[in-house]
């Protein structure tokens, strides 16, 4: 799979629910629609929370995977409704 190029990185490692999602919501607003936010997290709950948050907010979770001791998410900002 081609490497996704992010426009901004949110390091949410060490944070627990609800902070990864709360911070992601804040950070994604800084981006333009179509731009990509890369999120680093260690909260295992985020595996369920990030897809749910992305879907509910009209943003697109492009891909996620585990990298060593943390999780990596790529979320593309959706169009404003």
């Amino acid at each position: 799979m081609a490497k996704i190029q992010e426009d901004r990185i949110l390091d949410a490692r060490g944070l627990l629910c609800p902070m990864p999602v709360v911070k992601a919501a804040k950070e994604i607003k800084v981006l333009e629609p179509g731009q990509v936010l890369k999120i680093l997290a260690t909260d295992r709950g985020s595996i369920a929370d990030m897809p749910a948050w992305a879907e509910d907010t009209g943003n697109e979770l492009l891909e996620w995977h585990e990298e060593g001791d943390h999780l990596v998410y790529y979320v593309r900002r959706g169009e404003d409704e």
Binding site: C17, V22, A25, K26, D56
Partner: protein
């Protein structure tokens, strides 16, 4: 069944996709799906977390969130919440203690503060957000924090004893939001 319906080259997969998209569109148009109304009625540290976590997450997910603080829940949004919000080991068999402590001993002076310090240390150790951080996030995300006027009157609490940004209202104000919200919770 559906695969027998070959309407102008429309496949079962197309039909399912169209239905899914239409449902999603309907959900987005449903204003009540975008609103949460939560009651916070408990004034202990452990019960302060769920309403604030859910309200901040709701707001972070694009919902309009209202938390109505009533009875002991008022203490969550008072300026002195850090002194007021504690945990009690009494009557809580699930309270994690380093070693089993009989209830009679738990009733002794100093045990409540000890349990509070223990829970705070556990939370800090795991890097759980503090109540202050959650309140800050809630206000930043536009969560409506509403203090119940009736219980304020009963407890003798003044408006200026509450955090900046707190709103004030009654049962009708809460219900007016709750009747328009799919998510309503009593904590």
């Amino acid at each position: 069944m559906l695969d027998e319906l070959k309407l102008g080259g429309v496949t079962e997969e197309d039909v399912r996709r169209i239905v899914r998209e239409e449902l999603e569109r309907a959900r987005r148009r449903d204003a009540a799906a975008q609103k949460a109304a939560i009651i916070a009625s408990k004034g202990t540290l452990d019960f302060a977390y769920p309403p604030l976590i859910l309200a901040t997450t709701a707001a972070a997910s694009g919902m309009e969130a209202h938390v109505f603080f009533t009875f002991y829940g008022l203490d969550i949004v008072r300026k002195d919440f850090e002194r007021k919000l504690r945990v009690s080991p009494l009557g809580n068999p699930a309270m994690p203690m380093p070693l089993p402590i009989p209830s009679l001993v738990q009733a002794l002076p100093g045990m409540g503060p000890a349990a509070t310090a223990l829970l705070k240390a556990k939370f800090r150790g795991k890097n759980v957000a503090t109540i202050r951080e959650l309140l800050d996030s809630a206000l930043e995300l536009g969560v409506h924090l509403i203090a119940c006027e009736m219980t304020m009157e009963v407890f003798g609490y003044d408006r200026d004893e509450f955090l900046e940004g707190v709103e004030f209202g009654g049962a009708a104000a809460f219900l007016s939001q709750a009747r328009r919200a799919h998510v309503t919770l009593f904590v």
